[in-house]
């Protein structure tokens, strides 16, 4: 597999690549972060006219929506799409493809090493612009920017797994000094046949990011220890999730939660008065609406082992519950029992979809 180096910033290099893919009709559209010209707001854009790439900000450290979630639905159209994805978005896409919610057939994935994203509030109120220079400086030194989502600071999978193209952006060179595209598949080789740049057969060396990985691990241990202390037992759960207002925004923005009608919003959880009255006579009191904590337990059961830790859930929570920390940690612990890492490989089957005659025999 080859690599292509360009004497331009990572962002410019990516934009050139996207323009090339559109102009040479290798794809029908490209998916990238964009800055809305009229208002300066950020969004995810599906662009099919390379003339509109001026608005693109493919490496913007912001996530208004998990792009893996959006891409997976679009990929079912059969049209060809090249998508710039953060590592967790790529993993989310893989998890969705496993659930038949997307297809990789006509998708060219472009990913990059990631230093984390700013919380939505900061992207929306303009403070992200002020903090960006420091973010770039800190991440180029392999350190963790202080202003990103807590799950970003603790993320262990900030190097993309298995994308068609990997762009090296963080910690390997100073911003503006040049970038390298590592081609990881036949699909990528074929698509970039005519793309201009200096070719050699360099291979991406993740060890250059070992220092960052160590810092992230430390932060992860700190975040999860503190979270486990707060969240343990029923009392802990009630303490952390007690102020949930039941908006279900967390599940709505979650890339793994794909159900058109969530079980918890269906008739299964729509109680009639006799249920309430019977409950009341037994317990003396109950909360309205019901099943506040149950919703989270259910969601944990349904999807936590596929949680990619993107942090969208915590970011949209109106009361600041650290949903992502809880789900990411629980997911990691359950997935590890199966030696499973969500999004690592399409070949790895979802643990609950696999029947093994002999499993967890020590539990018996």
């Amino acid at each position: 597999m080859s690599s292509i180096s360009m004497e331009k910033s990572a962002s410019m290099g990516l934009k050139d690549l996207l323009g090339y893919l559109l102009d040479s009709d290798k794809v029908d559209s490209v998916l990238t972060m964009r800055r809305i010209p009229e208002t300066g707001a950020w969004d995810l854009a599906l662009i099919s006219d390379s003339g509109n790439l001026g608005e693109a900000e493919p490496l913007a450290p912001v996530m208004t929506v998990n792009a893996g979630k959006e891409l997976s639905s679009l990929s079912l159209s059969g049209k060809r799409i090249a998508a710039v994805l953060k590592p967790c978005e790529l993993r989310a896409l893989i998890e969705r493809v496993k659930r038949e919610q997307g297809s990789l057939e006509n998708v060219l994935t472009i990913s990059h090493t990631c230093s984390g994203v700013f919380p939505l509030e900061q992207a929306a109120d303009g403070s992200m612009d002020e903090l960006l220079p420091k973010y770039e400086k800190v991440s180029s030194m392999g350190e963790i920017p202080s202003s990103v989502r807590d799950t970003c600071k603790a993320c262990q999978h900030f190097i993309p797994m298995d994308s068609d193209i990997l762009l090296s952006a963080a910690a390997t060179q100073r911003p503006g000094e040049g970038c390298v595209l590592y081609l990881g598949s036949e699909k990528a080789e074929e698509a970039l046949k005519e793309f201009k740049g200096n070719r050699d057969d360099r291979v991406f060396d993740p060890s250059s990011l070992d220092r960052t990985a160590a810092a992230r691990k430390k932060e992860r241990d700190r975040l999860f220890t503190s979270m486990e202390n707060d969240c343990s037992g029923l009392d802990g759960l009630l303490n952390v999730f007690g102020k949930c207002v039941g908006c279900h925004g967390c599940s709505r923005v979650c890339p793994i939660c794909y159900c058109a009608l969530c079980d918890f919003e269906s008739m299964n959880f729509d109680y009639n008065l006799p249920y309430f009255e019977e409950h009341l006579s037994r317990k003396g009191a109950l909360r309205l609406p019901a099943d506040t904590v149950m919703f989270h337990l259910g969601r944990l059961t349904h999807m936590s082992f596929s949680c990619v830790g993107c942090g969208m859930c915590s970011d949209v929570c109106p009361v600041g519950i650290p949903v992502a920390a809880v789900f990411s940690r629980t997911g990691e612990r359950t997935a590890s029992l199966f030696d499973y890492v969500p999004g690592r490989s399409l070949k790895e089957e979802i643990p609950v979809m696999v029947f093994k005659e002999e499993e967890f025999s020590d539990l018996g």
Binding site: D28, S29, L31, R34, I36, E38, T39, A41, W42, D43, L44, A45, L46, I47, S48, G51, N52, T64, V65, E70, S73, L74, S75, S77, K79, L120, E121, A123, A124, D125, D235, V240, G242, K243, V245, G246, C247, H248, G249, R252, A260, L261, S266, D270, Y271, L273, F276, L280, G284, A285, L286, R287, L288, P289, A290, T292, V316, P318, V319, G320
Partner: protein, 395 residues
């Protein structure tokens, strides 16, 4: 004074009662509610309680009166709209138990709108409200409950919204008596006493035989204070709506206001009126299938994702602004601080005024879109004619 509120106060079902509240209104109100349960006139209550972490509140339906002392009848903030709580309980049918719910005026109004929409069954439900100075923004409350409790207490004593109160509270004209069965009035009445106003025969029936004192001429001072506060609110309302109108005018205005929207639909979830299990904008008929989106991207050179976010807000306005009670839940729920409630409360005033309809009244008036009038909105016909002739003149 707001037209309607004066009438409502006068039409109150008989003479109001008085409650002595020397040790603070909370304790006396809870004691009163306890007596109602104790006397068998009601079976259960819906009141706010602090959540375990202490930084928010939850609605609790309870029949065990020993829990009363932990209830917080006048919470500083509104995490879950009371209308939504009522919806979760009584949507399907009337209950066997008689339940009293003590909520803010806008929550009562939402409950009444929902009953017109078939989502709340008010039989066997007694709605009680109280003079409301506003609700503190949820995000602010969660980050500093103690200081918000204190600023709310201050707001209550002055009867005015201030500090980190929701912006829709500052423009709210329905902060006192609404169409509840019972209303607790205290603005403008000196410490130590509170009015308990029956708003309906059901409310009066509940309060009779509780040996409550009749009010000693407190009505005039209360009404005068409500009037005074209403005038101030009316001025703020007019000014705020003028600003909002400018801000959202035209597509550019809508784009500027909703540009940061990420399509999370928290506003819709938090809204007491939005009850659809499957929102139109999530359904197949809204044209968000992959093929349609890819085609749109090719035709236009690009599209924004998730798709149709401004359309969602426009659609939600069309669907529910006639029932909007301007409670402000939507703004509080928004993760990117879009002033959704300011927009919706302004548009709601306009749409409701157009149909001479006021959301939240239980006077038997049908929802405008559910009644057919042979002659209606005469002016629209002329507007369409003018627009057509103008379009023709440009061809």
């Amino acid at each position: 004074m707001i037209s309607g509120e004066e009438d409502r106060m006068d039409a109150a079902a008989g003479t109001p009662y008085m409650l002595r509240v020397e040790n603070g209104p909370e304790g006396s109100v809870l004691e009163l509610l306890g007596h109602v349960i104790g006397s068998g006139k009601a079976d259960a209550l819906i009141l706010p309680f602090r959540v375990p972490s202490g930084d928010s509140f939850a609605w609790i339906l309870f029949s065990d009166v020993s829990l009363l002392k932990e209830a917080v009848p006048f919470p500083a903030t509104m995490p879950v709209q009371g209308g939504k709580a009522l919806r979760s309980l009584t949507r399907k049918e009337r209950g066997n138990l008689k339940v009293i719910a003590l909520m803010r005026p806008c929550e009562i109004r939402a409950g009444i709108e929902l009953s017109k929409l078939g989502q709340v069954n008010t039989e066997n439900l007694i709605l009680a409200s109280y003079d409301c100075p506003g609700a503190v923004k949820l995000e602010d409350y969660v980050s500093d409950p103690a200081s918000c409790d204190s600023s709310f207490s201050d707001m209550r004593s002055r009867g005015e919204p201030s500090g980190n109160v929701r912006s829709t509270c500052s423009t709210c004209m329905d902060f006192s008596m609404v169409d509840a069965d019972i209303h607790f009035g205290y603005f403008g009445i000196e410490d130590g006493r509170m009015l308990v106003v029956p708003g309906s025969p059901a409310g009066r029936a509940l309060l009779e035989d509780l040996n409550l004192e009749e009010e000693e001429g407190l009505l005039p001072q209360w009404k005068a204070e409500i009037s005074r506060l209403a005038e101030k609110r009316a001025a703020t309302r007019e000014e705020t709506f003028r600003e909002t109108e400018k801000r959202i005018s035209g597509f550019d205005g809508m784009l500027a206001t909703f540009s940061n929207c990420i399509g999370c639909h928290n506003c819709q979830s938090a809204c007491p009126i939005c009850y659809c299990r499957l929102c139109y904008f999530d359904s197949e008929v809204s044209g968000n299938d992959p093929e349609a989106l890819m085609t749109a991207a090719e035709k236009r050179g690009g599209i924004s994702l998730p798709p149709d976010r401004i359309m969602f807000h426009t659609g939600r306005l069309a669907h529910m602004s006639l029932s909007c009670v301007s409670c402000g839940q939507c703004s509080d729920a928004c993760p990117v601080s879009i002033p959704v409630a300011d927009v919706f409360s302004f548009v709601a005033e306009r749409t409701q005024r157009t149909f001479e309809y006021k959301a939240g009244k239980s006077d038997g008036e049908a929802l405008p879109l559910r009644r057919f009038l042979k002659t209606e909105l005469d002016g629209v016909h002329d507007m369409v004619k003018d627009a057509e002739s103008e379009a023709a003149s440009h061809e």
